[in-house]
């Protein structure tokens, strides 16, 4: 099945800094999503982005499907951005979403 990797595993930022999180996947995908898991465990869907670029406020995401990676950009980070960011992918053959191991982000005031 599809393999999903994320980097970096941990990231510490000062408030106001920008960051880029990366997700690599091993096979062609028809579904790629980014999630933020807050300290209370809630998984919030940030982007559904199997290809192309999307923006939502300070967040944007780009998926280059032909090169099998996706990037999540966080600009002007805030302490409320802290948590774990997961990407999840579904290949063209499988029924299931596979999650990457996550990037743990800490934004310091």
């Amino acid at each position: 099945g599809i393999q999903v990797e994320q980097s970096p595993p941990d990231l510490i930022l000062q408030e106001g800094a920008n960051s880029t999180l990366r997700c690599n996947f091993s096979d062609s995908v028809n579904n790629l999503q980014w999630f933020h898991q807050n300290p209370w465990g809630q998984l919030i869907n940030l982007f559904y982005i199997p290809s192309g670029t999307k923006q939502n406020g300070r967040l944007s995401a780009t998926t280059v499907a032909t090169e099998r990676y996706s990037l999540l950009y966080i600009s002007s980070s805030q302490t409320t951005d802290s948590g774990v960011y997961f990407c999840a992918a579904r290949d063209n053959y499988g029924q299931n979403f596979v999650f990457g191991p996550g990037t743990r982000l800490s934004v310091l005031p």
Binding site: N30, N31, Q33, F35, W40, G41, Q42, L43, I44, N45, Y48, P50, F86, A88, R90, Q95, N96, F97, F99, G100, P101, G102
Partner: protein, 114 residues
């Protein structure tokens, strides 16, 4: 607001005592999923329903069962919980179709086994 609701938020059970976790959705989505998430790990899929069709992951223990009596509700039954089953259990939904589109998660049930 349409959403995915999980109850209870925290569940404590005893070793070997059956427990049921519940999930409901108002999104009218075709697909409902149960994920297990242990501390500092990614969510791991246990099984999912596409409408009434049940799909079990190959490595999901037989101790875990699920029921979906109608579109809106889905239950996770753990027949004989062990200490290793202590985890966050997450319910999610998505539309049907070729790509399944976006996943929507409930707030999870944190299960403790004493």
């Amino acid at each position: 607001d349409a959403m995915v609701i999980q109850n209870p938020r925290y569940q404590v059970t005893q070793f070997g005592k059956p427990v049921t976790l519940s999930c409901s959705q108002t999104l009218n989505h075709n697909v409902m999923y149960w994920y297990q998430q242990k501390s500092s790990q990614a969510p791991k899929l246990l099984f999912h329903y596409y409408d009434k069709d049940f799909n079990n992951e190959a490595d999901t223990p037989d101790n875990f069962q699920s029921r979906r009596p109608n579109t809106s509700f889905c239950f996770l039954d753990i027949r004989s919980p062990g200490l290793g089953d202590a985890a966050m259990y997450l319910c999610a939904t998505s539309r049907g179709g070729a790509t399944l589109e976006k996943l929507f998660f409930g707030s999870g049930t944190q299960l403790s086994v004493l």
